[in-house]
């Protein structure tokens, strides 16, 4: 009987460990079971991505609609090519929308905001944003201002 109760307590201990791992996965790291949801890929070319990083968010009107997959350098144009995966249910982004790099707060992380255009046609998977706006570089802004340009 003593053996059995020991086994039960050890079993509960193991379950507590598994529950803790589940908590860390779901609540702390925000890994949702439906994270493998349908997405499609869009591209955007920027002159300067500033502090943009992969895994950053892509938002529309403040609502997160996707994530940044990768940032690579285009060897021909020397621009940064950002690959974004957008949730499949947001499939009606107007074709003349612009991808803008913004900063959340004064010192926060940078993300891509999609300013909505007015075109009736929408962007399809694999398309590239026609107009983009690079990261605002505070140092460059100040040095331009100081040198009077």
């Amino acid at each position: 009987m003593a053996q059995r109760s020991t086994e039960i307590i050890v079993g509960l201990f193991m379950i507590a460990g598994l529950a803790a791992l589940m908590f860390l996965a779901l609540q702390v790291s925000g890994l949702s079971p439906k994270s493998a949801e349908q997405t499609y890929t869009l591209y955007a070319n920027f002159n300067d991505t500033g502090g943009l990083t992969p895994r950053g968010k892509v938002s529309m009107a403040g609502v997160t609609v996707g994530t940044i997959e990768s940032i690579t350098l285009d060897r021909d144009t020397f621009q940064a090519r950002v690959t974004m995966s957008i949730h499949a249910e947001v499939d009606n982004i107007p074709a003349d929308s612009a991808a803008v790099i913004r900063t959340s707060g004064l010192l926060g992380e940078q993300y891509i905001d999609i300013s909505i255009g007015g075109d009736l046609e929408s962007l399809n998977a694999g398309d590239t944003f026609y107009s983009t706006q690079s990261a605002m570089n505070l140092e460059r802004l100040i040095s331009n201002f100081a040198s009077g340009r």
């Binding site: 053996q3 020991t6 086994e7 307590i9 050890v10 201990f13 193991m14 507590a16 460990g17 803790a20 791992l21 908590f23 860390l24 996965a25 609540q27 702390v28 790291s29 925000g30 890994l31 895994r55 968010k57 707060g105 010192l107």
Partner: protein, 260 residues
Amino acid sequence: MMDRIAGLGRLGIAIIASFGRSGQFLFGVLAGVPRPATGFPLLVKQLYAVGVLSLAIVVVSGLFIGMVLGLQGYTILSDYGSESAIGQMIALTLVRELGPVVTALLFAGRAGSALTAEIGLMKATEQLSSMEMMGVDPLRRVVAPRLWAGFLAMPVLAMIFSVVGIWGGMLVGVEWLGVFEGSFWGNMQSSVDFVDDVLNGFIKSVVFGFVCAWIAVYQGYDCVPTSAGISSATTKTVVYSSLAVLGLDFVLTAVMFGDF
């Protein structure tokens, strides 16, 4: 002069020999896989002694460390008006570093020393030799269940430590200091990655568990079979485990997070 050089040489040979013996010992333990029918009850008993009984100290320290992180983080972050980043700070510190490391240090003090003392006393009272006389392999019967129990219990304890710590941080940050709960969890979820942070912390705790359990059972098995020998072996277990954990933590962190 020559005596000193000889003494240094003896010391070096003793250290190398001890490493060799511990490796041989580990191989002997791992090679002698206990039969499931007899081995499992022994393992459960050791899991109870090593894991469940360490739960109290782990939960209490986790709670307090989380609460301290919450308070300190709030004090610093509120200077910059970004106290909502407190959730992210607490979670990353706990999951990446403090969870595995502090649990391993507590584990070495609470469970490792007990393992060493138990096996050392068995050796001193010649229980191990009498087992050998009866044809029972003490490595398989006594040491293997303890090594495996430490190896299995440590990651579980580290996970529980992290969760309790995050809860403690939330108690202080959200309930007491009034950080908005939504941004507490939201910031945390957007900055903690499951593979990069949680799984790497888990791997750390697995490594630490293995090292701590190995050092503890080896020190017990290799001790000088006197009361003074047992006491010095117990001390060595705690000291070596702590040093090994902190050293390995640097190496693992450099490998996992150092690819700048």
